[in-house]
């Protein structure tokens, strides 16, 4: 017996309904088996087998137990989001948690699980340029997932690697676009997905044409300007979920664009594709953070050196802009330590036979040799001494960008009788582990370069000193993130050290404090930075350009103030958007379900 019948449904609720065809499969074999005798337990086992075949193949996150608890502490809402994205949304989800709730962790778990189940032969993660390296570090350190980043030296092209993190603009560039599109990706991850909201942009076009099986889009603010943004982002993931653009508009958005109507229906549909956890519903609880920024008067000789280097950098840059990177380096080193500066200059003079500015460089070397007191290092002693008296095992982490500075501080602290530990990128990973272990057991001072930022978690320590400051705020956040993270039980103290009237003071006082960098909750900064990137700004370049092009001190101050205003604006916009999205989704239950 095999029969088919087709039901035609009449038009209802404005849709032209499609047909439903119901086919009842033959039951001949089944009925025939009635006459066959079998063992009692055979039939029970047949029923169980049929029921197991229909069961979801083990809907639990099996890779969870593989994760190292020391590397990543998972929160309930994150596990739940990963679970829902994978098993309830068929691997196509918009992860739209509020800022700071760990969307990257959610994606990390998803990717880990897919890796465990071997459904991730090729994975492409597209992020804003400034966040690409951070993604790479986080996936490696927390989930043991190795991705190549388009900024790595060994990156070849989009068809040469299977696990790639790339800036979305690199992927859509003329050089790579076709290669990206020619490939069938297993998994696509799109960070800051709101930047593809506009269907007329190259970015939208790229994502629209990409071929993939699973996709995870991340954004804390799915709506940027108008509610249609939501339509565009969701339609990329699930074409047709909202019907046509016109229907969406007429049915869900009231005419002034600011509120949603028919919210229940919208929530039902969004629930199929979007997960949004709110901070108030989670158990995230950070301890307090105290920032102590200390600026010091440099000695006259330090002042003279700073001036000489700044003049040299300015002059050399005006003649040859191709030297930007090394000039930027000198400008950063001069506020870190004379010894760091010395190494670079010597290298330039003697290894690379720099001849055009030989005299100037020689005289800078002389100035370096004349310095006998390094102010920052002297004042560092005050901080570590205070810590030795007041903090458990006197544990302090001191960050510097330069190995030469690091070495000098280590020597100095050791000479003063402190227990010291060095951590830099030259160590093997087992050595690094050992160093962190020693630091935890023996206490004292860990002097580290930013190689630590892509590494371990040091929540057993709660005092951090920024001896010098990276011009890239993400790096600053990474440093702080080592100690101020989930699992830190004590309040955290951050000391920033800067010399007065130097670039560092400008960056610190005029920029970082303006955006409340040191008080940002984790994740807020990335939303500001990716906004900045949208306006075409690289933070480091901006700082450098302003520094070398200012004609006078007043000019410079004004320049930095202008930059601060920009930042402030971006920050306010980011806050506003966040608030707007909260408002729109208020009352929507898009987080973990109760059942």
């Amino acid at each position: 017996m095999y029969f088919t019948h087709t039901c035609f449904y009449e038009c209802m609720s404005g849709y032209d309904l499609v047909d439903i065809e119901v086919t009842h499969e033959s039951a001949d074999d089944l009925l025939e088996s009635l006459s066959e005798a079998g063992a009692e337990e055979d039939h029970l086992q047949s029923i169980q087998a049929v029921r197991l075949q229909a069961g979801q193949p083990d809907s639990e996150l099996r890779s969870l137990k593989e994760l190292d608890e020391n590397s990543v502490k998972l929160l309930e809402h994150q596990v739940d989001a990963a679970y829902r994205a994978l098993f309830e949304m068929d691997g196509k989800a918009l992860l739209a948690d509020e800022v700071g709730l760990g969307k990257t962790i959610e994606v990390g778990m998803i990717l880990k699980e897919m890796h465990f189940r071997e459904t991730d032969e090729s994975v492409l993660i597209l992020t804003p340029a400034q966040l690409a390296k951070q993604w790479q570090a986080e996936l490696r350190e927390k989930f043991g997932l190795d991705f190549v980043c388009n900024y790595d030296d060994d990156f070849e092209d989009f068809d040469a690697h299977d696990y790639i993190i790339a800036s979305i603009d690199t992927a859509k560039s003329e050089r790579h676009r076709q290669t990206v599109l020619d490939r069938d990706w297993d998994v696509l991850v799109l960070d800051e997905a709101h930047y593809v909201k506009n269907e007329e942009t190259d970015r939208y076009d790229l994502i629209d044409r990409l071929s993939y099986n699973y996709a995870f889009f991340l954004t804390a603010t799915p709506i940027q300007n108008e509610l249609t943004d939501l339509y565009n982002v969701v339609s990329l993931l699930r074409p047709g979920l909202f019907g046509t653009r016109d229907v969406f508009h007429h049915y869900f958005v009231n005419s002034n664009q600011e509120t949603l109507v028919n919210r229940d229906e919208l929530q039902d549909r969004l629930n199929k594709v979007m997960i949004r956890n709110r901070r108030e519903d989670t158990d995230i609880d950070f301890t307090d953070r105290t920032i102590d920024t200390r600026t010091f008067d440099p000695t006259p000789k330090e002042r003279e050196l700073y001036q000489a280097v700044s003049d040299y950098v300015k002059g050399a840059y005006s003649q040859d802009q191709g030297q930007k990177l090394v000039l930027m380096l000198l400008q950063k080193e001069v506020v870190s330590s004379p010894v760091a500066l010395k190494q670079t200059i010597e290298k330039r003079l003697y290894d690379q036979s720099e001849l055009t500015h030989e005299d100037e460089l020689e005289s800078i070397l002389n100035l370096i040799d004349e310095i006998d007191t390094v102010t920052k290092q002297e004042r560092l002693l005050d901080i570590v001494e205070e810590a030795r008296e007041n903090v458990e095992m006197g544990r302090v982490i001191v960050f510097t960008q330069f190995r030469a500075t690091q070495q000098q501080i280590l020597d100095r602290l050791a000479a003063e009788g402190y227990t010291v530990h060095a951590f830099h990128g030259g160590h093997s990973s087992s050595e690094k582990e050992q160093i962190v272990e020693n630091f935890e057991e023996e206490g004292g001072i860990l002097v580290s370069t930013d190689a630590m930022s892509e590494g371990r978690n040091l929540q057993f320590c709660n005092i951090l000193v920024n001896l010098d400051l990276p011009w890239n705020p993400m790096r600053v956040e990474q440093r702080i993130g080592r100690v101020h993270r989930i699992g830190q039980k004590r309040d955290v103290f951050i000391f920033n050290m800067a010399l007065k009237d130097t670039v560092e003071e400008y960056v610190l006082e005029r920029l970082y404090h303006k955006i409340d960098l040191f008080q940002q909750s984790v994740g807020e900064l990335s939303s500001i930075l990716s906004r900045l990137e949208e306006s075409g700004t690289s933070f480091e370049d901006e700082i450098f350009e302003r520094l070398v092009s200012a004609d006078s001190e007043v000019d410079l101050e004004n320049d930095f103030d202008a930059m601060a205003v920009d930042l402030q604006e971006q920050r306010e916009l980011a806050d506003k958007l966040e608030e707007f999205n909260s408002g729109v989704f208020e009352g929507f239950d898009l987080g973990e379900s109760d059942d």
Binding site: D16, V18, E40, L44, A49, D58, T244
Partner: protein, 387 residues
């Protein structure tokens, strides 16, 4: 309708595998990481006889030879086992014993009265069939969805017995290793109409879900139609522009023909002829396109809607004859100093089959309207409150 599938956890996998292999006559030596399975020579199974090593979980097996297999929810070995076991005996018989716990209805449990004693007296045996159906729903805009549903109908009255289906699912969970039964007594002729009734019931039970998917598919089709319409509209606009460009070019040429010298006139005439034929072609295309637009692109619409149509497949996978008992149950109720016994129709596996009403307001007792007092016959919560 309850989902009849069983979540495939590692422990379910191991429990089922062990029981199945042992029932085939295999012996199993278990250790933490491995199971050593020995399959005797004359065993009726697709697994080759001899020694096999099963590696628990998804870790890589030590050896890569044919006798080493992985045992986890997605492993090929386990899937093979399920297929084999599923086809082995798709029909049979199970009994629901009355000796098991008597189900107290929610309207008694949730009320203010204590149940002191329960006594079931079976009067006669009844037979039902429970059919497990696989339901597949496919649309182009969604992944294919599959459900497994259990439908129970009484063999004589063809009454739908949803609670018996639930009891059947409990009875056949992976935890249960044994169930009394035997060979089915029903003949094909007897089973066939019952199966037809079950088919209708399974479709009825899926109606809400089907409606929802149906609406989604229709929306997706609408969206595609709209996209197509916009694309064609854009094309029409482009053609119109081209059309008007050609038209003005032709006009320019006509001007030249009237004013130019002989050579240029001839050239212009030739050119105008070419352009005119191009113009006419374009005109035709444009008219055709406009006409299709004005009719709403019927062919394309049909093609899109056909592609988005829902395809529902219903396949009966197992059929079980279930014996259950019907009779009466006595509940001895107690409240402060009052006690009262009520007798209700009852079936093993289906629970109380009678509805009872409040003596004061005649409203049916239910979970939301429980029995509150027996001091003055059976009274519901709201009537008890009023007193």
């Amino acid at each position: 309708m309850t989902d009849a599938s069983i979540p495939v956890t590692q422990s379910a996998v191991e429990r089922f595998t062990e029981r199945y292999l042992r029932s085939l006559g295999c012996s199993i030596e278990r250790s933490d990481e491995h199971w050593m399975v020995s399959v005797p020579e004359d065993t009726a199974t697709g697994i080759s006889h001899g020694e096999h090593t099963l590696v628990r979980g998804a870790g890589s097996p030590d050896g890569d030879d044919d006798s080493t297999e992985r045992l986890h929810p997605e492993s090929a070995f386990f899937q093979r086992l399920l297929r084999e076991a599923g086809e082995r005996s798709p029909t049979g018989k199970l009994s629901i014993e009355s000796g098991s716990d008597i189900e107290t209805p929610e309207w008694i449990q949730g009320g203010g009265v204590e149940v002191q004693n329960v006594q079931f007296t079976p009067y006669y045996d009844r037979t039902a069939v429970v059919v497990l159906f696989r339901v597949g729903i496919e649309t182009v805009s969604e992944y294919q969805q599959e459900f497994l549903r259990a439908i129970a109908v009484d063999a004589r009255s063809e009454e739908h017995l949803p609670r018996l289906a639930d009891s059947f699912l409990e009875l056949t969970s992976v935890e249960s290793g044994k169930a009394s039964g035997g060979d089915a007594q029903l003949t094909q002729t007897e089973a066939e109409p019952l199966l037809d009734t079950a088919r209708e019931l399974v479709l009825d039970g899926l109606q809400d879900r089907l409606d929802e998917i149906h609406r989604e598919a229709s929306r997706a089709a609408d969206s595609e139609v709209e996209e197509y319409r916009q694309l064609q509209q854009q094309r029409i606009e482009e053609l119109e522009e081209e059309h008007s460009n050609l038209s003005s070019k032709i006009n320019d040429l006509s001007e030249q023909i009237n004013t130019g010298d002989e050579d240029s006139r001839v050239r212009a005439l030739r050119e105008r002829k070419e352009l005119k034929s191009e113009y006419e072609e374009l005109d035709e295309t444009l008219n055709e396109l406009r006409e299709r637009r004005d009719h709403g692109f019927p062919a394309r619409q049909r093609e899109i809607r056909e592609r988005h149509a829902l395809d529902v497949q219903i396949t009966p996978l197992t059929l079980t004859e279930v014996e259950y008992e019907r009779g009466e149950v006595d509940f001895d109720l107690y409240e402060e100093s009052t006690s009262r016994t009520i007798t209700l129709g009852y079936g093993s596996g289906i629970g109380v089959t009678e509805t009872v009403r409040c003596v004061s307001c005649d409203k049916e007792f239910s979970e939301h309207n429980p029995l509150q007092t027996i001091s003055n016959d059976l009274e519901c919560q709201s009537c008890a409150k009023e007193q």
